[in-house]
Amino acid sequence: MILVDNLGYRYPKQTELALRDVSARVDPDEVVGIVGPNGSGKSTLGRLMKGLLWPSEGRATVDGLDTRTHGLEARRLVGLVFQNPNSQIVNAVVEQEVAFGLENLGLPPEDIRRRVDSALNSVGLIGRELEECYRLSMADKQRVALAAVIAMEPKYLILDEPTAWLEPTVRWPLLEEVLRWRAERRAGLVLVTHRMDEAQTCDRLYGMLDGRVEAQGTPEDVLQDRTIRAKLALDVPETFELAASLRAGGVPVAEGTSIDRLAERISA
C-alpha cells in the first residue's frame, strides 16, 4: 500500500506549500484517480508517492518503506510515466529503451529478453523492437515509455496525464492496454488526469484543489455534484451530455458512461 499521511510539500525557494495536509492511500489491485485543475498539486503528489520528492511535512511510505529513509527500495516498487514521452525516452531504438532499466539492475540477458518481450506485448508493440524511437507517433512513443516502466515489474504504477498529448482516437486503446496489464498483475494504479471519462474508470478518486484534497470517494460520489465537477475543472466528454439528454427522453442510462456502455445499456 502507498500511504501518504498529513503530507506537506514546499518546492525549493518557495514560501507557499504546494501540498498541504494531504492524506491518501493506494492499495494493491486498485485504480486510484487524482483529478483537479492545473497547478492543484496532482503531479506533485504523484512524484511524492514515487519518492522522487521528499515530503516537507508528514510521511510517504510504500509497503511500509519510508521514501526518505528507504528510498531505493521504495522507488523500485513504484513505476512512474510522465505526460510527455519525449522527456522520458533516452535511447534510440525501442527495445534498447525498454531494456535500459533492466540492464541497470544487472539482470541476466535471458531474463531481460523475456521481460522486454512481455512488456512490448502488453502495449501492443511486439514486432517493432528495432524501430527508431524518434520516428514513432506520439502514441507509440508513450507506449514505449510505458513498456520501459512495466518491464521493471512495479507493484504500483503512476501515470501522470498519460494521454494529454494524444489524439482522442488513440487515447482509449492505450489506456485499455494499461488497464489490462494492471488487472493481470493485480498492480495498484494511480491515474493523474483532468478528463472526466478517465476519472470514471477509477475505483476511487482524490479531487485536488490548491494543494489540498477537496473531495474523495467513488467516482459516483465525487463527480455527481455539479459544483465540485466545475471546481475540479474536469474536461467533460460529449457522451456525458448525450447521456443526460437521452435520460431526459426517458431512456434509463447512467450518467456519463462511455459510448460502448451506453450502447450496451440501451440495447439490453
Binding site: 507517433s137 489524439e167 466528454p237 448525450l242 427522453g249 426517458g250 459510448i259 450496451e264 440495447s267
Partner: protein, 269 residues
C-alpha cells in the same frame, strides 16, 4: 476562380473558399498538406497554382521557387517560434519579401489584430512568455502576415483544451474573405464548418458538398476512423447491436430516433 488544384486526387480550391480535408490520424493528411503547399513533391499527379505548375518554371542554373502565395501552418506550430519578440517572429516571413518598413508594420500589426492579440501589448514580449493558446495565435499571425492566397492549416486546434479550441475556430471565420483556407482535421464536427469537404479513407479521396451532407452520411464515416460527434458514434454502436435507426437525418433527429427505437423495443416486452 480556381487557385489550387491537385490532379493526383482531384482536390480543387477556389478563391476565398474554405475546404476541409477530413481523415483519421495516419491517413496521409499532412503529406497532402505539404504537397498542396509545394513543400513536397506529389506522389501522384501535379499540383497547380492558378493553373500553372510553379515547380516546372525552372530555368537552368536557377533554384526552384515555390509560390509565396501559398502558406502552411504546420502542426503544433508554436513549437517553431524562435525570435526574441513577438513582432520579430511575425515579421520573419514578410522580411524575406524586402518590403518597406511602413508596409511591414502594417502587415504585422494587421496579422496580430486578426488573431485577436493587441499589437501594442504583445509586440515586444517574448513569444515564450505567452500561454500555449497565445503562442499558437502568434504562429498563425506569422503565416497571415504573408497575406497568402491559400492558407493551409494542419490540425490547427490539436492539443488545445476545449475552450481554447473554440476560440481558435472562431478566429478563423473572418479570415475566409481574405484567403482560401484548406483545413486539415480529424474531427467531422470541425470539417463540417467548411464549404466543401474531402474525406480521406482507404487511400482514396471523396468529395462532400457541405457539412450537413457530411454528417447525414455518417454511416460512411464510421469505417474511416475520423472523430464523430458522440450521438453518431452511439448510433453506430447501436446499429452493430441490431438497432434500426433512421437514415439521412441530422443529429437531433438521430437522437430522437434512438429514443423512439428504445421505446418501441421496451414496449414490445
Amino acid at each position: 476562380m480556381q487557385v489550387l488544384e491537385h490532379s493526383g486526387n482531384g482536390i480543387t480550391v477556389d478563391k476565398g473558399e474554405v475546404v476541409s480535408i477530413l481523415g483519421a490520424p495516419g491517413s496521409g493528411k499532412t503529406r497532402l498538406g505539404l504537397e498542396l503547399a509545394f513543400l513536397r513533391r506529389p506522389e501522384v499527379g501535379l499540383v497547380l497554382f492558378q493553373g500553372e505548375n510553379p515547380l516546372a518554371r525552372k530555368r537552368s542554373m536557377q533554384p526552384l521557387k515555390r509560390p509565396r502565395e501559398v502558406t502552411m501552418l504546420v502542426q503544433n506550430a508554436e513549437d517553431q517560434l524562435f525570435a526574441r519578440t513577438v513582432f520579430d517572429d511575425v515579421a520573419f516571413g514578410p522580411r524575406q519579401l524586402f518590403l518597406p518598413d511602413a508596409e511591414m508594420e502594417r502587415r504585422v500589426t494587421g496579422a496580430l489584430r486578426a488573431v485577436r492579440l493587441d499589437p501594442a501589448e504583445v509586440r515586444d514580449r517574448s513569444p515564450f512568455a505567452l500561454s500555449g493558446g497565445e503562442r499558437r495565435r502568434v504562429a498563425l499571425a506569422g503565416v497571415l502576415a504573408m497575406e497568402p492566397v491559400v492558407l493551409i492549416l494542419d490540425e490547427p486546434t490539436a492539443n488545445l483544451d476545449p475552450r481554447t479550441r473554440n476560440e481558435f475556430s472562431d478566429l478563423l471565420r473572418p479570415l475566409r474573405h481574405k484567403s482560401a483556407i484548406v483545413w486539415l482535421t480529424t474531427s467531422a464536427r470541425e470539417a463540417s464548418q467548411a464549404d466543401r469537404i474531402y474525406v480521406l479513407g482507404d487511400g482514396h479521396v471523396s468529395e462532400v458538398h457541405g457539412g450537413d451532407e457530411l454528417l447525414r452520411d455518417w454511416r460512411r464515416l464510421i469505417p474511416t476512423g475520423v472523430e464523430l460527434p458522440a450521438v453518431f458514434e452511439l448510433a453506430g454502436a447501436l446499429e452493430r447491436r441490431g438497432f434500426e435507426l433512421p437514415a439521412d437525418v441530422d443529429s437531433a433527429d438521430l437522437e430522437d430516433g434512438i429514443v423512439t427505437e428504445w421505446q418501441r423495443r421496451h414496449h414490445d416486452r
